[in-house]
């Protein structure tokens, strides 16, 4: 092999690596993105079907109910409420009246089955997505 060919070989190998990586990335991005949706959007039927998504909002005061290890609560943007069920141990900062983000999908009964509950790690901190949902709901409310 001439040196020129060898160099070409190296370049081709490098391009192949990058190309394969690009394919992997596009494929993975397509199937692993969770969209953030506000409770009002869920109520309006704008939630993605057949795919996991995230809801941000506040945990409604007095909505927490335990049933063994399963917890039921309501996540709200103060306009619309979404009932949520989660089985497992809640994060330390999960509290009624505080912001939270849940990931999962809606079952046939209209209850959101969460596979993951995220609360923040500082009590004075509000998840931006939860804040966004509240602001969004407020804005729509004042427009009406």
């Amino acid at each position: 092999m001439k040196p020129r060919h060898k160099r070409a070989l190296i370049i081709i190998a490098a391009l192949a690596v990058i190309g394969i990586a690009a394919l992997l990335i596009l494929n993975a991005l397509n199937s692993n993105i969770a969209l953030y949706v506000t409770p009002s959007e869920v109520a309006a039927g704008k939630a993605p079907k057949g795919q996991a998504f995230r809801i941000g909002g506040m945990v409604r005061d007095g909505s927490l109910r335990r049933d063994g290890l399963t917890v039921h609560f309501v996540i709200t943007d103060l306009v619309k409420d979404i009932p949520v069920a989660y089985t497992g141990i809640l994060p330390d900062l999960f509290k009624e009246g505080k912001g939270a983000v849940v990931q999962g999908r809606i079952d046939a009964n209209g209850e959101f089955i969460a596979s993951e509950v995220l609360a923040k790690h500082d009590e004075n901190y509000m998840p931006p997505e939860a804040k966004h949902a509240l602001e969004q709901a407020q804005k729509n409310g004042s427009n009406k």
Binding site: R7, A14, V17, A21, I25, L69, I89, N124, Y125
Partner: protein, 639 residues
Amino acid sequence: MIPEFGHYALILALCVALIQGVLPLVGAQQGRREWLMLARPAAQTVFFLLAIAFVVLAWSFYVNDFSVLYVAEHSNSQLPVVYRLGAVWGGHEGSLLLWIFLLSTWTILVAQLSQALDEFMVARVIGVLGLVTSGLLLFVLTTSNPFMRLLPAAQDGRSLNPLLQDPGLVFHPPMLYMGYVGFSVAFAFAIASLLSGRLDAAWARWSRPWTTAAWVFLTLGIALGSWWAYYELGWGGWWFWDPVENASFIPWLVGTALLHSLAVTEKRGGFKSWTVLLAITAFSLSLLGTFLVRSGVLTSVHAFATDPRRGIFILIFLVLVVGSSLVLYAWRAPKSALGGKFSASSREAFILLGNVFLVTSAGSVLLGTLYPLLIDALHLGKISVGPPYFNSVFVPIMIPLLVLMGIGPWTSWKNTNLLTVIQRLWLAGLVAVIAGVTIPLIMGEFTWLAGLGFLLAFWVIGSGCMQIARQAKLGKPTRSFMGMQTAHLGIAVFVIGVTMVGAYQEEKDVRMSVGETVAVGGYQIQLQDVRLVPGPNYQAMRGSFLLSKNGKEETILYPEKRSYFSSTMPMTEAAIDAGLTRDIYVSLGEELSDKSWAVRVYYKPFVDWIWGGCLLMALGGVLAMSDKRYRMKLKKQIS
């Protein structure tokens, strides 16, 4: 009065840092020797002033001076002294001060240890570091001053986030920052050599140990952070692809590529442009990481309450640094990109290919981290990119890299007969295949992914051991050779840990009342009682769990659920029985209505190998740095 001294020292430090940044660089360009001479004393003065500022801040924490806003927000009179000191870098302002202080530490280390280096080079390196220091000091003074007063003073502080009240916090940020900031030295060397037009082997030889040192700190910092998340956050995972974790991991990947590329530049004079570009990229990514963490654009453990001015300042700084260094690069980088000739089966080619994999993986992690920000900025909605994305992209890129790792060290510079290498390596291949098949069977279940993990790990181990044996026959192996082998071995150990945990861990969330037993990974765990115990600044519900195997009692585990007096935030403190081949992890959830408790138990086989592997990698770096050619030959060759 004392905090004002600190504030004043910071302002003076900025003035001197500007001198350190401007005069030596101009002096080197115009050949004014007396300006060059200012570099070292200026750097020492900046270090001295920053040390004063740092000590003053620590002192304010120590004496509970709640008239300092930052102290009032992050400490509390009940906080134990150790955590009061740890709290110095427990928030945004203090951690930036730490960042700058460490930058200055690196600078004077360079100034002290570079006596043999030509003075123009030293002046330029110190000058570039001075410019970076000035930029960050300006940032601290204008947007994040830790010495702001709170008048009238608070009665008591708001206290440190309970999550951060842990020995891990005392070490994790300084370690990580040492690494982050350390890439600034490689960056400064690269910029200095672009300025002087002297991109040669001597330059690579000089930056190599510094880059390795930064890489060692970064490796340890990331490992500590991961370990801390594992036992303190109560989640039991060791990596979450959290944006902030990624922000430290991306520079690590690029830094690893840089280490290897520097080897080619040092030994063969090749890859010069590529090496310079990597040095610029590694430091820019460290800055980007700081931006991502500190600006609050990301939702994460590390996100602090935000001030948009901060984000914009760092962004401008980042654009300036990246922009000016890339312009300089485009203008001055050597034209012949690959340097000396080499064949497609040479060591150069293997390192280049490995570099491509590392950089590609860094790019894919970066993309996943920034993608949600991008989508949000374009008003296309809010999304999150989850761990499955990272796993499905990152892992496949690492597989060929591990294959290369077994072969690369056997090749020689310029050209290698691959056939003879493969003939030598058949034994390692055989060991790998046997391990890949039998270990999963011993563990009780064969999965392809687990098989592949063990196969690759033992491929690297086998190849490494064979090479060490061969080298030992030829004479005493050099430290840099042993360093390389140790670091690669560390990767293999890490892969074993990851594979074991990924394939064979057991996790159970259960409801337990006193006396009940749950079985996990062949162990029985019985809840004996839960009682209230007092702590220095909290009280805790403490559970006692009896761990036994086949009826034989092993130990008692005490997980806690703490409530801190100064905050309403409860805090889960997991109990871990650690072992060489497995960890048993118990954490206490909430009390349920019927006198029972939600309990999380994990069986984690070989999980400590993950951090053990990182330790080995760091040890490898230390060995390579201590190679004698960096100590003795240097003086002869360069002076």
